[in-house]
Each structure stands twice: as structure tokens, then as C-alpha cells.
Amino acid sequence: MANTTIIGAIADALRVAMRRDERVMILGEDVGVNGGVFRATEGLQEEFGEARVMDTPLAESAIIGASVGLAVNGMIPIAEIQFLAFVYPAYEQLVSHVARIRMRSQGRFTVPLVVRAPYGGGIRAPELHCDSPEVIFAHTPGLKVVVPSTPYDAKGLLLAAIADPDPVLFLEPMHIYRSFREEVPEEYYTVPIGKARLAQSGTDCSLFAWGAMLQVAMQGADMVRKTHGVSVEVIDLRTLSPLDRMAIRDSVLKTGRAVVLHEAPRNAGLGAEIVATINDLALDALMAPVIRVTGYDTPYPLFALEDVYVPDAARVAQGIMQAMNYEIGARL
């Protein structure tokens, strides 16, 4: 076991995967000598060489497009996009090709690609380093979208993504890259894609979150436990596509109330899909409307405003209490 952070667990997963299978390679900007701007690939070029840990020209569409060619020609590429919002030039490659090649060729060609990208706010970064556009990719059939929130899951989910026969967007919550440590096995293991994690069991209200918002969810849950004695069940979704609908249903059937938390804007955010899932599968259990605690419907702001934008524990606590205090018929 090693006591490590999320970024440490990611670096460890990359090393383990590259040692296990020589088809696995990394490509991206500054991933070589520099070890990535967050050091996720530190030391890897030294161990595996320039061919397998490749600094590419500064061209995101070429990074993803070339990854398609690498994948269909026998490699298992792991592409690093420096920040998720920098993937927009490669959006066409992702939605028009990466996501569709298995279907287009009816399985004759497949793209076992992992795209790693740090994302989310809270690090006082310049504009367009902090967007949370995960729903765009969750809305794209053919892609899987995974977000770890702990070091253990970061390693296990990344290794599962690398082993996955389909393309996976592996989104890394950079705000909590180094914010805490936990024991992580040194050997190879996987955490299944498509399964949510019960972060905290509770009986009064379900709280759904992922990535860096898990910390905020736990703080908000703790706050209402102390102030109002509310028992909150916190679910870490971990995979945003395909969603673990059964985990969402089971938790809401148990608690009868739900709050969804995300950094991304509210309008057409993934929260809406979770609300719809509850509507489909657990409507009869609901004792209150599902509450969304989200970013505002604005572009992610320059950092002087980010504390206003990003949901905090107080907003989460308020959302939970809104669900708890709801009276049936009060809105009629």
C-alpha cells in the first residue's frame, strides 16, 4: 500500500498500465520531459522512452485525431488534454469519430482510447482552465465519462478505463489533486466503470455528486447533521455515462428526497438527467421536488468571482433543508 493523493494515484496507474502492456502509450502537450503541467506523467518518459510518452505539437484536434489512428492500428493511446476546456478544438474528433467508429464500422474498428483531462474550478486559474463541460460528452452516445473523487478510485477507474474496449473521457478534479491522501494498493486493480459509490449512508435525503464536489457534498451533509439532525446519504456517481440509474433509484426509494450537486451550469446540466431518472424510476417515493445545487447559468468567471460561482457547503446545506422542509401542496 502507498499513502498517496489523487495525482499520485493517477501517475501510479499510468506506470502500472504501461508496464503491463507495451501497446499502452501516452501522447499530449508537455507530457514528456516536463511530466505534464500537473506532473501526472512525471518520470514516465524516462522509464518508457520518447515514443511511448510522446510530446506532440500543440494541436488538440491532432492529438485526439491521431489517437483514433493509433487505436485502430493496434495501440492503446492515453491522450492528455492539458485542461478540459482546451479540448474544444478536438470536439469534432471526439463526437464525430471517437464516439462513432465502433458503430460506423459495426465493430470492425474500435477506439480503445482514454482521454485524460483536469477540470473544474477552485484553483485561481486563468479563464477557460476551470470549465465543467462534462455533460456535453455524457450526451454523446459511444463515449464513457468517468470522474474519480478519491485516490483509490482514481487509480482503479483509470486502469479500468485503459482496459475498456471503448473510448473513455477520464476527467480529473484538479482542485482535489493533492488535497488529501489515502492508502492505495501498489498492484494492478480496477474499479468498475458504470457503478456509483456509496460515500456515506443516510436515511433522510440522497445527495448525488462527483469529482471535487464530493468534498463539498460531505461538508454540506455534515452541516445539516449538526444543525438539524438530518441523515444524508451521499452518492459519488463516479461514472457520468453510462449513469448508474439503479443506484440513483435505490437511494431515492430509501430516502424519499434528493439533491443533485454539480459545478457546471444548471441549464441542461447532468443534474437534469438525474432528476429525470428519479422521475422515471422513483417518482412514487418522492416527498419533495428534487433540488439542484449547481453553478449559475453564466460562463465560468475569472477567479475573483469563482467563490461566488462554485457551490459551497452552505449552498448544499440550504438545498438539503429546502428538500427537508418541503410541504406537499405548498406550491399550489
Binding site: G65, A66, V68, V72, G74, S96, I101, M103
Partner: protein
Amino acid sequence: MSIDSIRVSLKEDHVSEDMLQRMYELMWTMRYMDRRSVAMQRQGRLGTYAPLEGQEAAQIGSALALRSQDFVFPSYREHGVAYVHGMPLERILLYWNGRYDGCIPPDGVNLFPVSVPIATQIPHATGAALAAKMRADDQIVVTYFGDGATSEGDFHEAMNFAAVADLPLIFFCQNNGYAISVPLRKQTKVKQIAQKAAAYGMEGITVDGNDVIEVYLAMRSAVEKAANGGGPTLLEAITYRIGSHTTADDASRYRDASEVEMWKARDPIARLEKVLRERDIFSDTWVKELRERAESVVNEAIVAMQSEPPVSLDQLFDYVYQDMPEELAMQKQTALLRQTKGVDGRG
């Protein structure tokens, strides 16, 4: 002409008579298929179709220079390339009939499916060539695109990447003068697209794309160069699209009839015919037999295309992921019920 765009000047003497006859038969096969396809679209028997008439030499000549292990990343007009590289005509037709069967080459045929968004297949070729180089096996990669594609970012990104990484790759541009209605002079300021290679430190070559022998020889040299570690080449074949962009387009809106007539006088099939006559290969009986053979191949493919069984719902649901997510499996069940019983209980 710039230093970096050297026109190849080679003689047909390097090409065997068997190869000349093969070129002629393949070009005729594709022209016949092309004309039948346009006609079938008009009759409602085929979907929107992208015709290739006029570009047979660029396609057949270049594809004949490839080895079977070489990997082709086409755009959407390369039916001739696809056929020469091993794609059955029937499947090419099925693609234009809206069926995924047209995207599945037989095992061992290294042909990527048609890529619709302009230039987006070019970086795929760069990646495939990088994989070939890493494996150090005897495979080169070729990608096809038109003149319009050279204005796209993906063209630039992929060319630059391939040159930096010194990849076994041929960028084959069929410069047919138009991107739908926009002529080349509005697409680029350079006289020849091959000049663009200089900016990447890559060799750029322009050939007469209506001379099948010149295309073949230039391509053969580029393949040898790539296979021997000489790096990528931008090969520009100057040609002309005699028909419209697709059957949904009307080229008479933006091109003078006189221009089309001028290019018909440079017809690639008629030009090869001249060479064959000089060599006493061409005779009325020879050409009659050859055309009958080519036409029956096409006609059989059309019959086969038309007798394909109806498309299965499996094609819609089974290949989005390797393992179907639960929700998608439920949606498939619903769609199946709707298809078999006409009703269901789910929205």
C-alpha cells in the same frame, strides 16, 4: 514552380502492359458504376451519391501503387480507391444506400470507413502511421482529401505532426478545382497545393491527375520512400470533377459549360486509350470484351446490393459500446416491440 513542388516527369515505359490493361479496366468499371449510381439516385433506388467521374486516373493510379498491408483513410469520393484496395462494389453501393454494411471492409482489407466531415480523416492517418512506425512493420498509410480540405485546421495539424514525427504517410490531395461551388482561387493563394508542404518541411509533388500512369509512378515512388523511412509526402493530383459535388448539387450554377468541355477533352480514360492504341493493345474487340466484363461486374454488384435483407435493429443498438448499457438494452427492447407488435408501453 517552387523548389519544393517538383513536377514528376516519368514515362509509361516503367509500367507493364498488364498493368496498363488493368488500369483501363478498373477506370472503366468505376466510370460505369458511377454513371449507374447517379441514374439510380435519380430513380430513387440510391440515396444522395458523390460522383467521381473525371477523377478515375487519380484514384485508380494511386491505389494501384499500394500494397495490401497499407492502410487507407479516405474521404467520401474515393470509391475507386476503395474498390482497388479490396472493398467489394456491392458494399460501396450499400453505403450510398444508407447502410453501415458499406463501412465494413472484408477482413484483411485495410480501409477505414468513409469520413464525412472535411479533413477530419487526415489526423487519423497521422496516428495510424505513428502506430506503423512504432511497430516498425512494413506498412505505410495514405489519406485522401480534396482541395477544400487543405483550408481546414485538421489538415494543418496532421501535416505538421506527421512531418515532425517523420511518419510513413502519403497525403494524397485530389485537387478537382472546386469545394462544392467554391473555386480553388478562393480557397488558397498558392498556385499549387503541393507548395503547402514546404511550410511543414515536407516534400510536395504535383502531378497531372488525369494521367493514370503519371499518378501511378509518382505514388509508387512516394510509397517506396515512406516504406524506406523517407518520411511523409504531400502528393497533389490535379484533376476535375465532371459531375456535381453530389446528386443533391447542380454544378451548372457555378461552372461554365465551356470549362467542363475543356476538361472532358482531358478525359483520363481517353488519354490511356491513346497509349493503349500506340502499343497495339487497344482494338475494338478487346475494348468490347473488357467493357462487357466491367459492366457485368457492376451489374452483379447492383443486384447483390438490391437483394440485401432488410436492415436489422441490431445495427442500431449493438455497436454503440462493446457491452450494451442497461438503459440502452431497455431502449432496444422497446424498439423491437414497436417493430414487431406496433405498440408498446414505454415512451
